[in-house]
Symmetry: C2
């Protein structure tokens, strides 16, 4: 297992983590600059941030700062109410693929979607199986596009508390079942993003990481589970502030040959380390060395 205590060469910053500082959006190009200035070698930006900064300008800055993309956030949201929405989702995911290629991302992360309409507060139906079927179809179609472009797809199982509205793939086992169905040859075109926040509770986690193997383990995301957790979306903790045994999970992944970045992905608005972007980055570096 790699020793993270001496440096932060394997730290990546998901830019959602520093999206806001002092109540305002921190422009993506400034975030990239601040990362590079601290010797952070990788980031994972969100599409809306890239759109605001401009794709070409972002690609140029990534290159100029010598940054890698540990992933690109995000494609997916495959579930639909009608055929028009299905086509729109497919088109949007193709654009996400193109952007990921332009930015030379390691993978396109997929948050697959929940019950149609649920994220807006009005689920159109309660048939989770049919939503999961739509997801399987959506990933299958996108996989063809992804293979053409040579861009790996990383299915991210989300915590079961997001099953209704954000992602109906909720365990690593379920994600790997879909990988095995759609990419039985383990070509490297399809795998998983293991976000510790979403999967830490799973009694089958170690076994499923072993099942995944290096060819399916495309990304590792880290933050922490706070006790108590006061908000389902915006109360993730900084590594070390909660109960997730991050080194243990990383160890399981590295035992399979995973050798990529540990990407810090935190949505939060209220914690002290969120007040200032630079301070947040410094804290990520310190905690990455000590707690990941």
């Amino acid at each position: 297992m790699r020793d993270f205590s001496g440096d932060h060469r394997w730290l990546s910053i998901n830019t959602a983590t520093v999206r806001r500082q002092r109540g305002q959006d921190w422009p993506l190009l400034q975030i990239l600059e601040a990362c590079a200035a601290r010797g952070i070698r990788a980031v994972s930006p969100w599409r809306d941030q890239v759109e605001q900064a401009g794709l070409a300008a972002t690609a140029k800055a990534v290159k100029a700062f010598g940054l890698e993309l540990s992933g690109y956030c995000r494609g997916g949201m495959f579930t639909y109410a009608d055929s028009a929405q299905r086509e729109a989702v497919r088109d949007d995911n193709r654009r996400a693929l193109d952007e990921a290629c332009e930015l030379n991302a390691a993978c396109l992360v997929l948050v697959v979607g929940g019950l149609p309409g649920a994220l807006a507060g009005h689920a159109l139906h309660k048939d989770l199986d049919s939503a999961r079927q739509q997801v399987a179809e959506g990933v299958q179609l996108l996989l063809n596009d992804a293979r053409e472009r040579g861009m790996p797809l990383a299915i991210e199982p989300l915590h079961p508390m997001y099953a209704a509205d954000r992602a109906c793939i909720n365990t690593l086992e379920q994600a790997l079942d879909l990988c095995d169905l759609l990419d039985p040859q383990r070509t490297g075109a399809l795998g998983v993003a293991v976000d510790a926040y979403h999967v830490w509770w799973d009694p089958k986690l170690a076994a499923q990481i072993e099942r995944a193997g290096a060819s399916r383990l495309l990304a590792l995301h880290v933050c922490d589970w706070l006790t108590p957790t006061t908000d389902l979306l915006n109360d993730r903790g900084m590594m070390g502030d909660g109960v997730i045994d991050l080194p243990r999970i990383r160890g399981w992944m590295e035992a399979q040959g995973f050798a990529g970045y540990a990407e810090v992905e935190i949505f939060s608005s209220a914690h002290w380390w969120q007040r200032d972007g630079a301070q947040t980055l410094d804290t990520c570096i310190e905690r990455h060395r000590r707690c990941v």
Copy 2:
């Protein structure tokens, strides 16, 4: 599958659902009376409510009103920091068993506990595996006491969002693995309480209900998952207000031979139906017929 639309003979009220009305505790004996007055045939009271009303007085009222107990809430919380706590937990669970027997409950429901200290906000460690081992030992010990008394134990898997602080058994599969380990002969002494709120998201739910079979399916709890959910503990929805396909889950259980009560268990403080206990009971009856 039983038709619930014509009456509410298979409705049970978990008394947490009407614990408070108009900002005050509703005394248990009055709750029992209000249930009986509406033709509700079963309840599932909480230990602290029974303690407040008195065990003998509660047993007498249960009998006088002709009520059954679909379960008794609750035993468990097996995880411990030291041997003194382990002994205290065991003693307390034995008392819970005795009370369940006195009240002639169908089963003692077990919420197994999380990381020691986490519920108070300060987890003593992050070793979920060791907590799960403590749970297995605790259930094993209690099972001996339960067998002597002829009181079935129902392990309740809790939603993964409670893994840290309330219960580290988080899927039906995990609960059934423990049942198979400790009661391989399926004697009826050990089984599961299936609370739809905790397990509805699980892609393996149908298969695990089938695996459980009638001998392990000791209780069915119902409420609903709201979108959005604004609080991890106190934002459960009334049946029909959320996204859980309750008849489908009940159908899976009944296909295995489950023929017990559908017990309404809702913790909530803010919703309209919580304002008045009588109104809540009337709503439970109406929704039980229409949405369960």
